[in-house]
Amino acid sequence: MTNWPILSLVTFLPLLGAVLILFIRGDAVIVARNAKSMALWTSTITLVVSVFLWLDFETASSSFQFVEKSEWIPAFGISYHMGVDGISLFLVLLSTFLTPICVLASWDTIKTRVREYMIAFLVLETLMVGMFCALDLFVFYVFFEGVLIPMFLIIGVWGGPRRVYAAFKFFLYTLIGSVLMLLALVTIYFEAGTTDIPVLLRHAFDPEIQTWLWLAFFASFAVKVPMWPFHTWLPDAHVEAPTAGSVILAGVLLKMGAYGFIRFSMGMLPEASVYFTPFIYTLSVIAVIYTSLVALAQEDMKKLIAYSSVAHMGFVTIGIFAATTQSMEGAIFQMLSHGVVSGALFLCVGVVYDRIHSREITRYGGLVHRMPLYAVAFMVFTLASVGLPGTSGFVGEFLVLLGTFQVNTVVATLAATGVVLGAAYMLWLYRRVMFGQLVREDLRTIADLELREVAILAPLIVMVLWLGIYPSAFLAPMHASVATNINRYQAVVAGQTAPAAKLAALPAGTR
């Protein structure tokens, strides 16, 4: 264990980089070049530092580690309180892993306002990392909401033709949820008298209030995940966002909702979570099947992958609320896997988009003839998305289904159909883009991956295989934290007789 504030370092290093970029002066070309190198260096160093979190992480412990705490607004008992446990550790790493890749992916494609773009990304990284580390409601809220701003700008400024519509849709959707969450946070403060998350995790809220708090949190998290039917902002946002924006959006931002479900809904509001579990199941199963079918009908590559994200995140929410060891670890693992795989798939789309400037599936075909390296990379990620054993996608989905089957066979079975449909739309996409004859004139001269692109995709391929073949490295640090969470939750479930009866009856799935 180190004594220096490593979490603050990981959190605020990117911000420091952003500030430094502000000071770059000179000719526009030089500013752009320096800003890019600065951003790349900063994010890489952040990644290196964050790896120490993993190395120094005490696997056996379920408590928060690397804790930093200092008073901030003593009048309200708000403190700057940071720490990670086995659940948030890898989400932090995921953020720091994807950011340098995003910077590199934008290297040649972003030509306007490069400096501002890089600043936005570094600020975004600070906010994401801070959000996963925050152990104080207030700090959490600041980071959680703050993420919206750079993302809104990235879509709205550097996006495609319909970027304004998409940016506002994204912003309003998430904002409405957030406002309700703010109400919930204020209520919690008045109810429990503290904003300290570890304390709140041990606080027993009155079940009646829990219902309302849960719904308020749900409004925010369900939009972020996104769960059906709050998902329609996602395809639009993805389609209009620049490639790197999509990567972060799919890779990290969607996980914020799922993380919130674990930390707040499950952790603080267990009675309400039990009560609403059938509701979550229903929405998630619909998400899996519905969006898979919708993905089958897409004509735009990015939209297809966006819809597949909704389906894959459906597995995550099912896994969280099934609340067995396997399903919960599977859900967290699926978050990591999806972060890597969907990010990679968006990068793959970006590769051809940079060359041809179209995302229409029918615009392509036969690319394998000209782009063998690209074909291999795209194939690996397609298979990971399909959940082939040996890739990262399998482990998460399998654990979720396995864990869920123990408590609810119907949900597990219905969700498993998503595996069949997932294979259908992904292979169909791959076939239409990569296979067949090379017909179009401008595709005849299309170039294969350049070195920069190889450097972006290669680490992702390594991650996909690593997560798939030796997932234990990632599962081991989760065990203790997940076990603690599950035990606490199951204890409540077991002891819960009267409160359950008190809550009104909603249409519930069979159990």
Partner: protein, 643 residues
Amino acid sequence: MYTAAVLLPLLGAAIAGLMIAHSRDREAQVVTCGAVGIAAIFSIVILLQVAGDGTPRTIELFTWIDSGELNISWALKFDTLSAVMVFVVTVCATMIHIYSIGYMSHDPSIPRFMAFLNLFTFFMLALVTAENFVQMFFGWEGVGLSSYLLIGFWYDRNKANAASIKAFLVNRIGDFGFVLGIMGVFLLFGTLSFDPVFDAAPAMADRSMKFFGWEFHALTLICLLLFIGAMGKSAQIGLHTWLPDAMEGPTPVSALIHAATMVTAGVFMVARLSPLFEYAPAALTVVVIIGATTAIFAASVGLVQNDIKRVIAYSTCSQLGYMFFAAGVSAYGAAIFHLMTHAFFKALLFLGSGSVIHAMSGEQDMRKMGGLWHRLPWTYALMWIGSLALAGIPFFAGYYSKDIILEAAWGAHSAAGQYAFWLGILAAFMTAFYSWRLLFMTFHGAPRADHHTMEHVHESPPVMLVPLGVLATGAVVAGAVGYYFFVGEGMAVFWGASLKVLEGHNALEAAHHVPTGVALLPTVVAAAGIGLAYVMYIMRPEWPGLVADRLRGLYLFLLNKWYFDELYDRVFVFPAHVIGRGLWKSGDGDLIDGVGPDGIAAATVQLAQRASRLQTGYIYHYAFVMLGGVVAIVTWYLIVRLG
């Protein structure tokens, strides 16, 4: 050595994969053939060791998935069953690798092809040496992937691409059942490793399990779910539609994956899980019925197909049916025995047909062949051997294995057994008929190909013929050699603990004591089938056309493969696309966005416009509204406060 036997092909695939970019054809061929060849030599040693001293060996590599009570390792399990499978897989694979050097010599992407073949071999070995359900599933999906890649090997052909996706998806449907089965096992046993599950199975024989709100006999449910996976992989009726289409791939692929090894994985699975299936008699009955039905269905379709590879594909499907109903009557030894002999003679037939196609410049339609026998004497002779083995003519390999299966079906003394026996006999007749129809149409009669093609007809080079010779040797002797160990007196010692048969399920024992008539019947009908084919295609070549005209409906029904594809297109594929589009446009577009964000936005705009319309700027409008307001307030005051 045990580990190397499994991992060498993976290494070969990786090295050959790196050669793709540099087009080092020869090196890739050497590496891949070498890898699988060494694995084959190892496999022989392994088989002798494991079956010799009867002690299974398990090699743990490292932890794979570890979560709660679930603990899965990468591990290699070698008992007699897996050793036999490793032997069959590596030997067939070696022959087919070598054959591919000749067959694919004109192809521009040889390293890729060889790498895929090696990759497939690795996955297949991982499947058969699995020590737990999940690793089996890993191999299971892995061979599916290789099959997908190899069927679609010629990726500029649309038909090949469609076939490869179809293969993957139909298999995925099967795998869906497989996964559910695995989850059921975990729910019931709390572990997914084979040995603890098998040990605990007898104690679980009376348990029931809730699934979709109904109570089921737990093991029956689990076995049936797992069997859905087997049906997909082994192309049993209902999930068979991908196999004939898979013939779009290069012929060595058809021989290796779609005849000798991968498609038999389902049979292997049932045999491997015999300690579970034995306690699920209802599931076994289903296996028998599905197997027997597939045997007759596929054989009947094979009667009328004109594509040489499709005939053999349906024949494979049908033979897999035999293996399944053998397993279903608890004659697992017979199933694996037939699996082995079939691997030899069916690979031989496929490669032989590949030799014909190679000679005919890619032509696969038998109606455009004929009269080839003196041009391709070796191929012709080898195809005869393969067909004799397939038809079960005495003393060829198929004779031993198919007869014992039919006798075991008879010996099961059950209704399902009788069903399987009689359908099996009928299918045996058809098998002989279509095999000789194939031989006669291809090699005899007047040449029907155009002059140009006929000029180019040439016998295959030794690199293709020698592997055929090796396989032919297997097709001749494998039956006689293996009989004693697989199904004869030595079987109890040979199989050891790797197969489990309960007391009272010993159909294989009873198979040795069936009436003489029953024992002779398969051979008699096979001879009759050959005779009929001779009459119809040599003596009276006009008859087939007449029969087809007379029985038009039946002919079309068979030619169109019982209309399975058409049915599935209508019921599943087309609706999925329509529903998907509908949900997208109406669900997401009109309903969610319409009512949600766009609707609210539009409503806000409208409201604002209304509000702005109020501000007209005319004094008298404002004055009038004020007056109205005053009147309303006064009225309200008078009525409520004073009244």
